[in-house]
């Protein structure tokens, strides 16, 4: 492809080693987590021998499985909605100068600076004051509210400096607005949207404080279930759930890459490239 000077190739090797260390750092507790899912003990503290009983318990524990399902549903919906809202907002902020955009910008940062417990309590009080009953829906509402800002920030960082000439060039070449948007603008934004969506998903999936205050009866998510077990013992069953999720995701990824080859969302590097 392009000529790479020799020291750039060497740099790549040093870089690879460093990246390897970072991934090792990321997965260190995961390795422990996986190991302890086989721990023959009610707690995560001392290794007491190998057993598969937690996996067995997991598949019979309807409460935990339900919580897992709830977490997924909430995270998926919240991520999709906030990705759409956030992307549109980021687009508007980068493209247009409108009255109040300064204040609007500030408002975007508020979910980031506000302590979780304050947000959780405030939202609950407000929802009750307007007589909205707690349910799964209120959880989703809360999650959208605190994830949308992350999407805006990430997509905006991506969008800044996007060369409008590309769009004009496309239109000059005969594309209409929709085609331009779909084939020029959107693909450019896509890595930002994807990055933001990944963040949003994880934020939603793992949230405890805000969810605790805004969940209705029976709307237990996985963090709620796990944190409620803290008092009396977080059994290795929770490790088993995590392992189960890791395994499932890994298998899906494997299958996907075997089938697809190149992933979608290939990006435009700049005029004239690829």
């Amino acid at each position: 492809m392009s000529r790479k000077p020799r020291d750039q190739r060497v740099k790549a090797k040093g870089l690879r080693v460093f990246v390897g260390f970072v991934y090792a750092f990321l997965f260190a507790p995961i390795v422990v987590l996986v190991l302890f899912s086989f721990n023959n003990s009610k707690r995560n503290a001392v290794w007491k021998g190998f057993t598969l009983k937690w996996y067995d318990a997991l598949f019979h524990d309807t409460a935990v499985l339900q919580a897992l399902q709830n977490s997924f549903k909430v995270a998926v919906v919240a991520t999709i909605v906030s990705s759409i809202f956030g992307t549109l907002a980021a687009y508007a902020l980068v493209r247009y100068r409108f009255r109040g955009s300064g204040i609007y910008n500030g408002a975007i940062y508020i979910p980031l600076v506000i302590p979780e417990i304050v947000f959780g309590v405030a939202l609950l009080t407000f929802l009750r004051a307007v007589s909205i009953n707690l349910s799964m829906t209120t959880v989703v509402i809360a999650h959208i509210a605190f994830t949308v800002s992350y999407i805006v920030v990430v997509v905006r960082a991506r969008m800044v400096g996007f060369d409008r000439h590309l769009e004009e060039a496309a239109m000059d070449l005969g594309a209409n607005e929709l085609q331009t948007f779909l084939h020029v603008t959107l693909p450019f934004m896509l890595p930002g949207i994807l990055a933001g969506a990944l963040l949003a998903f994880v934020l939603s999936f793992d949230d405890f404080v805000i969810t605790f205050f805004n969940a209705g009866v029976g709307a237990t998510t996985l963090p709620l279930k796990v944190y409620s077990m803290v008092k009396f013992g977080v059994t290795p069953e929770i490790n088993a759930i995590s392992v189960f999720m890791l395994a499932t995701t890994s298998i899906i990824l494997l299958v996907y890459y075997k089938l697809q080859g190149a992933p979608p969302g290939a990006t435009i590097k700049g005029a004239g490239e690829e």
Partner: protein, 319 residues
């Protein structure tokens, strides 16, 4: 073809009703018709696009916060309810010297954690964006994978690794790197480690999004012109990825300052952060009025800090 009168790049909207862009083939699809109608009406377009988010935040964030603001002007009732009033006592208390060490500590821990995530995340994002090739998304998902487990369990796992008879100490002592097990847990070290670990994706992902659009040919041009790696990194790559760095810094630093779970689980008696203080006002002390005042004070400080930070870094377009 006359080129568009509107300048390219940022903030190209201009005033409403400005010179329309170059005539383009009129599509007949709905999208095109809507776009045609909106062309030149940039304020309206902007409002429509930004609208949903605005409405959502207004309803489910701003209004609820008004309630909390009202609380902050009140005081604690006998049983921990809020007695409404109009006094700034809570704010005076919030700025009492008692909390200065805690606030300083929170900012310090968050700053160190942010720096560490930047040092780790930048190379990682760089690698994925420029060397990831077809497996880019795979690397990204691998990055996020650890976070699809329960936060509590991850932290417990760190406890297993860091404690006196934990994994790390066992390795270090058996290899005779240290004579005695190190006291790693319940220290500033473990808190900062926890923060760094938990927020690494929040730095890496914005960095990736920004680096990913880097034009590799610019880097090669730099080499071709005789620059070495370091110079290219400092003068070409980093400035071009600045939006990502700013975004990442904000997304790590801000939540890190207010974090309470990490110092709760991994910290000791002297690693208390401002998040713990606020948390305890709402829960143990049951002084919501004071807790609210503390929260607003913290939020105000952070918003001001953000404003000056972004202004200083020079990417006003991000504000």
């Amino acid at each position: 073809m006359p080129s568009s009168a509107a300048p390219s790049g940022q903030g190209a909207g201009g005033s409403s009703g400005g010179i329309p862009p170059a005539p383009a083939p009129e599509g007949v699809g709905l999208f095109s018709r809507v776009a045609a109608r909106l062309r030149g009406r940039s304020a309206l377009t902007a409002s429509l696009l930004a609208g949903p988010t605005l409405v959502w935040l207004l309803l489910f964030l701003i209004l609820p916060l008004c309630v909390i603001l009202v609380y902050s002007l009140g005081s604690r009732g006998a049983y921990g309810d809020v007695v409404l009033g109009f006094s700034f006592d809570n704010y005076l208390k919030a700025f009492s010297p008692l909390w200065f060490p805690v606030i300083l500590r929170s900012f310090a821990y968050a700053a160190i954690a942010t720096l560490l995530t930047l040092l780790m995340g930048y190379p990682l994002a760089y690698f994925i964006a420029l060397f990831g090739g077809r497996r880019k998304n795979l690397y990204l998902i691998l990055l996020m994978l650890p976070f699809w487990t329960s936060y509590l369990i991850r932290t417990y796992s760190w406890i297993v690794i860091l404690r006196t008879q934990g994994v790390l100490n066992t390795v270090l002592t058996s290899l005779h790197v240290v004579p005695e097990p190190l006291n790693l847990l319940n220290t500033p070290f473990s808190v900062i480690l926890g923060l760094t670990y938990g927020f690494l994706p929040f730095m890496t992902l914005p960095l990736y999004a920004s680096l990913e659009r880097l034009d590799k040919s610019l880097i090669e041009a730099s080499y071709d012109l005789g620059a070495n790696r370091l110079w290219t990194l400092l003068k070409v790559t980093i400035p071009l990825s600045l939006p990502g760095i700013v975004a990442g810094t904000l997304l790590v630093f801000i939540p890190a300052v207010g974090d309470f779970v990490t110092p709760d689980l991994l910290g000791g008696p002297s690693t208390m952060m401002i998040g713990n203080v606020i948390q305890s006002q709402f829960l143990s002390a049951r002084d919501w009025a004071y807790g609210s005042a503390l929260s607003f004070s913290l939020m105000a400080i952070l918003l001001v800090a953000i404003f000056f930070y972004v202004r200083r870094v020079g990417t006003e377009d991000l504000v």
